[in-house]
């Protein structure tokens, strides 16, 4: 019947607008990281679970700097001179060290250039690494799903609110608000704390 088609047409127009908005909000945002192909297959799970190493043993700058930092090749070699020296991946490491070259790790977690995320302040507030980086301790190849996704935005638009993927601004804010509401914390909500 006529009325129903009219409503349908209107709905179509509305949907088109929504899709446009979703795509436009999503398009300029941090990249969705793919599971990475690294120059050396580094199994986080083995180091964390089997050898019980602390994250900060290697990412030692996290507690004192904006950046968590990567271990120097020398630090890797500190253990791997002996440990697992015969393994093919460790040999790659030794090669890099011998050549005095840095290892070209592929970046997984990335915020936009205009966003400052100080690791130090979050560690001081006892935020777990996994909160943002996911269950790295269980990953053999580090990968992450971060940034907004179209499906999430669409669901968001029609009123369903899926758990936002990590490292979007709304997700950061939600956590800060939760902290302020529950803990005796002062998680800042000033834009300039991260955007300056």
């Amino acid at each position: 019947m006529g009325a129903r088609t009219g409503v349908g047409a209107l709905g179509l127009v509305l949907l088109a607008i929504l899709v446009f908005l979703a795509v436009s909000s999503w398009s300029r945002q941090p990249a969705v990281a793919k599971p990475s192909i690294q120059p050396i297959t580094f199994p986080h799970s083995l180091h964390v679970q089997t050898y019980k190493m602390d994250c900060q043993y290697c990412h030692s700058d996290a507690r004192r700097s904006e950046y968590a930092g990567l271990p120097s090749v020398a630090r890797c070699m500190g253990c791997h001179k002996i440990a697992g020296a015969a393994l093919p991946e460790v040999k790659k490491l030794a090669d890099y060290y011998a050549r005095g070259e840095p290892i070209p790790w592929v970046r997984v977690n990335k915020l936009p250039e205009f966003t400052y995320f100080p690791h130090k302040a979050h560690l001081r507030a006892n935020v777990k690494c996994q909160t943002c980086h996911g269950p790295v301790e269980a990953m053999t190849t580090f990968g992450a799903v971060t940034g907004p996704r179209l499906t999430n935005d669409l669901l968001n638009l029609v009123g369903l609110r899926p758990a936002a993927p990590p490292l979007t601004m709304g997700w950061c804010l939600d956590c800060h608000r939760r902290q302020n509401a529950t803990a005796d914390a002062h998680a800042p909500l000033d834009c300039v704390t991260c955007h300056h």
């Binding site: 700058d61 930092g69 120097s72 936009p112 302040a121 909500l189 955007h195």
Partner: protein, 968 residues
């Protein structure tokens, strides 16, 4: 230090990707260090102390190193010369370090061009030539010219010249104040330039000394001058300045006396005569002024007798006072006698030993007199010199008077070797360039005055393929002498070894601590001098050129000094405070003269002296003495400025091109005040890029002043209560801190240091001449000059204007997307990534302090390496403005939280505050009753700019204090 080279390479690579990526999705790699460097934690700044070598003042500097690259310079708070402050030139030194034109390695002349060549080959050419000359016993045909090197490098080079048997090294500084030394030799029997204790003076009487701009040690003297001159507890010193031109220093005087050019010495004697006559000075000085006719001097100088009497009285009553001579007053043909007269004034007022202190003598006393340079140039012209070695920092082809014809003379030299790190007028004449490292990449030491020895260390690995000058000379010297390392007269492997060896006995095992402190300082024993009083005679200055010409005042520029600073775009873009002109050089012409000759501002005029001619656009000045024209020294462009920022200049622009070669007879110094020029219109027009539309406040009371007596009275009574602010809306609450700033207009001298410091700290873009002229400059802070009173003799007020961080900010509610909003801590925030660029905020800001990115401003490589990693580089189309250095606030809070305490005064210094030589800017927490800023905000002198608009700014200004007698 350490092996930072590899690290720098790594960071430079990732920096480049960061700069290129707008919204890139390409795979990005992150590179770890191969070997950890314990000095550097990525994301955390490391600070290295060194000494600024942008001019011979030798201020202490600490360099902020982030990820292996220096991103900011600050004054070393422990250094006795600058005590933490830095001038605009010091702040801009980073642009020399990362200068796009820097040589990327040694160069060898091939026809008109300089071609890259390996180090070994280049050094071999030099060594071979040296060896040839030595074997031909032509040691005296080898000349070495360097800038002022007071300590180890100078000593090493002297050893080098001795070992190779060359002519003695010539130290060349264009501004070396030879007349001061000569006069002190005459009056006090000591060939030295003393320390002038401005801080202890009650009255300062300056004869042309531009001590707030370039004179001797401008940061040191600005700091001490502020201590003497700023109102504290109702007391303030007085400053009287005598100069034909209203310079920046003259503008800061309580009383500026405009005299006929070259009559300063006679005026000093007239004042001495008045003091003697009024028994304000010892009778023995009567002998010196017996022949003085005050009335005649008044007539010659154009200064009324009453003024002479009044100034003399004020000066004599200062206990102690201080008379200083400088600028044009002491570089003319009568320079030495003028300074002798000033010395007598000091002696007669009993200032010697009090404010004129021998002992901590200035390093300027060690400069080879200009007369020696003239002699060398003559030798060159005669073909007696076959090899000329020029150290870095000297640019004689640009700085020597045109009358000397240096460029012609140098063509007669067989081999010209330059160690300059970037191309200039002299490297254009050189055959070989062996680029020196920048001082921020170098080891060294520098002693700006007796008792102060600054130690220099590399603050990062070299940006370009360059070698320290000392290393180059050691290598060449050994090659010539055919000796090995560890043997012979030059055994040291590197200059660093030599430096360590020199310092070893001095610091013993305190090397690391000394490096951290930036040197060693102790108070040298004062030297007592006796005054020789003799009849003084200051003849009128002899000026070359036509009698009806105008006396040329070729004065050193605050921004460029002798031209060394001019290759820094930051300095080009920071306006000259008096004219507010950027980029272009100009000739200042008195309004009367301009009217007579039919010259309007921006008309290109030709100035001609017997020695040369230059063409410059005119700046019509109502204040200049009508018998003079003034041209600043030091304007030049670096190759990368053209045509990026300015159109290519036509012909020379430096006034030294018009100066004569002769040295002043008394001292052997150059005569910057020595010619008369004719002024002729060329018919062309080149309007200057002037940032300030008008110097008239039109009654808007932006910069306010209060009488000294009233200020004293207010100080006693306290501030009258302001009307309570009325609003229908509840006030904003500040749960934590509330940041605010206080700016003392009385202290601000208008030196532009804050402007450049802000530019360095906040990644503020350079826009070039045309854009700046069209109101598209990007500075977050500007120094305004407001002229009050009669146009020919105005009182100037300097008003630093930056975002006022208003509590009821007009810019915020108009922003549709919350890009402008007010933080919980009272900052007026601007979120760049949210900004859409409607520019509504920019219209609605009554102070017009918001800056818009009209274009994607270019940052020529490798200047992008300097960018502060804590501040976003803004994209085209976004608005930006002062953030009160929010990145520093965040860091300061972070440090305080590490110590489990709240932020207190001094934890956070904004970049402008940190560098201010006169401490005019105070930043702090307005909620803290004890903080300095709170106290200043409640000062009786406090006011807000455009208070009636009701924006309730967080920046409080303190009125300038004017003296009753300042009328004239």
């Amino acid at each position: 230090m350490m092996n930072r080279r590899d690290f720098f390479r790594v960071v430079a690579a990732s920096g480049a990707t960061a700069a290129a990526s707008g919204c890139q999705r390409a795979t990005e790699t992150i590179l770890p260090l191969v070997v950890p460097n314990e000095q550097i934690v990525p994301g955390v700044a490391a600070w290295f102390a060194t000494v600024c070598r942008e001019c011979p003042a030798g201020c202490g500097v600490i360099a902020k190193n982030r990820e292996g690259r220096v991103v900011k310079l600050e004054g070393n708070p422990d250094h006795p010369v600058n005590q933490g402050a830095l001038c605009a030139r010091g702040q801009a030194a980073l642009q020399g370090l990362y200068h796009p034109d820097r040589f990327t390695g040694p160069r060898l002349r091939d026809g008109a061009a300089l071609k890259p060549v390996p180090w070994d080959a280049a050094q071999k050419v030099v060594a071979d030539k040296l060896a040839d000359l030595r074997s031909a016993a032509k040691g005296q045909a080898i000349a070495l010219v360097t800038q002022l090197e007071t300590s180890s490098l100078g000593a090493l080079l002297d050893k080098w010249t001795q070992a190779l048997g060359t002519r003695p090294r010539v130290t060349f500084e264009p501004f070396a104040y030879e007349a001061l030394r000569a006069a002190n030799r005459i009056t006090f029997g000591r060939d030295a330039i003393p320390y002038f204790a401005f801080e202890d003076a009650e009255v300062v009487l300056s004869f042309g000394a531009d001590f707030l701009e370039t004179w001797l040690s401008n940061v040191n003297y600005a700091r001490t001058f502020a201590r003497m001159h700023t109102v504290r507890d109702g007391r303030a010193g007085t400053f009287i300045h005598v100069e034909p031109r209203q310079s920046l220093t003259a503008s800061n005087a309580d009383e500026w006396v405009r005299n006929a050019p070259g009559t300063e010495g006679q005026l000093a004697l007239a004042m001495l005569k008045v003091m003697v006559d009024e028994r304000l000075a010892d009778r023995r000085f009567a002998e010196a002024v017996a022949a003085i006719d005050v009335k005649k001097i008044a007539a010659d100088s154009g200064v009324p007798v009453e003024t002479i009497v009044h100034v003399a009285e004020v000066f004599a009553h200062g206990r102690p006072g201080l008379a200083v001579g400088g600028g044009m007053a002491v570089t003319g043909s009568n320079a030495t006698s003028t300074q002798v007269a000033i010395n007598l004034l000091n002696a007669a007022a009993g200032n010697v030993g009090k404010t004129v202190r021998f002992g901590p003598d200035s390093a300027f006393g060690k400069v080879t007199p200009y007369a020696e340079v003239v002699r060398l140039a003559d030798a060159m012209a005669k073909g007696e010199i076959e090899m000329l070695l020029l150290g870095s920092g000297v640019n004689p082809a640009y700085t020597l008077p045109g009358g000397l014809r240096f460029a012609d003379a140098v063509k007669k030299v067989g081999l010209v070797v330059s160690l300059a790190s970037q191309p200039d007028e002299t490297t254009a004449l050189a055959h070989i360039v062996l680029p020196d490292t920048h001082w921020l990449e170098s080891w060294g030491d520098y002693s700006p005055r007796e008792g102060v020895s600054g130690l220099m260390q590399p603050t990062m690995s070299p940006v370009r393929d360059s070698r320290p000058m000392g290393d180059t000379f050691l290598a060449i010297g050994r090659a010539v002498l055919r000796s090995e390392e560890g043997k012979g007269p030059l055994p040291w492997a590197t200059f660093e070894r030599y430096l360590r060896a020199t310092w070893e006995p001095l610091v013993r095992d305190g090397w690391a601590a000394t490096l951290r402190q930036g040197g060693v300082w102790k108070e040298p024993a004062p030297v007592v001098v006796s005054t020789r009083v003799a009849p003084a005679d200051v003849t009128p200055p002899k000026l070359e050129g036509e009698a009806d010409g105008f006396a040329l005042l070729a004065y050193p520029s605050l921004r460029f000094y002798d031209g060394r600073g001019a290759s820094r775009a930051w300095l080009q873009e920071a306006p000259d405070t008096m004219t507010q002109a950027v980029w272009d050089p100009w000739v200042e012409i008195a309004a009367e003269t301009a009217a007579k000759l039919g010259i309007a501002g921006g008309d290109v005029v030709r100035l001609t002296s017997p020695h040369g001619s230059i063409e410059l656009p005119a700046y019509v000045s109502p204040t200049l003495h009508p018998r003079a024209v003034a041209v600043p020294v030091g304007h030049r462009y670096a190759p990368y400025h053209v045509p990026r920022y300015v159109p290519a200049p036509s012909g020379p622009k430096s006034p030294v091109a018009m100066l004569g070669a002769a040295a002043e007879s008394g001292s052997g110094g150059p005569a910057y005040f020595g010619v008369r020029v004719t002024v002729a219109r060329t018919g062309a027009r080149q309007p200057l890029a002037i940032l300030q539309a008008t110097h008239d406040q039109e009654g808007r009371e932006l910069a306010q002043a209060v009488d000294l007596r009233a200020a004293r009275e207010q100080e006693l009574r306290g501030r009258e209560d302001h009307e309570a602010h009325l609003s229908m809306y509840p006030d904003q609450q500040y749960p934590g801190y509330r940041w605010g700033m206080a700016i003392d207009v009385d202290a601000c001298v208008g030196c532009q240091a804050c402007v450049v410091a802000c530019q360095a700290e906040n990644n503020v873009a350079v826009v070039g001449r045309a854009q700046a002229a069209y109101g598209r400059g990007m500075h977050w802070i500007r120094i305004e000059r407001w002229a009050e009173g009669e146009p020919a003799h105005p009182a100037n007020l300097f008003l630093p204007m930056l975002c006022q961080h208003c509590e009821v900010a007009p810019c915020e509610p108009v922003c549709p997307v919350f890009a402008a909003y007010r933080t919980d801590e009272g900052l007026n925030a601007q979120v760049y990534n949210r900004c859409v660029g409607t520019r509504y905020c920019g219209n609605n800001c009554p102070y017009h302090v918001r800056r818009f990115n009209w274009f994607q401003w270019e940052i020529p490589t490798p200047l992008e390496v300097q960018l502060n990693p804590d501040v976003t580089v803004r994209q085209l189309g976004v608005m930006e403005k002062c953030t009160m250095c929010v990145q520093r606030i965040i860091a300061g809070k972070d440090h305080a939280r590490d110590d489990k305490r709240t932020v207190k005064d001094g934890d956070i210094l904004t970049a402008c505050q940190q560098t201010c030589p006169t401490r005019a800017i105070t930043f702090g927490n307005l909620k803290d009753e004890q903080s300095a800023v709170t106290k200043l905000a409640r000062s009786p002198r406090a006011y807000h700019v455009l208070e009636e608009v009701g924006t309730r700014p967080s920046v409080t200004y303190l009125r300038k204090v004017v003296r009753e007698h300042a009328s004239r």
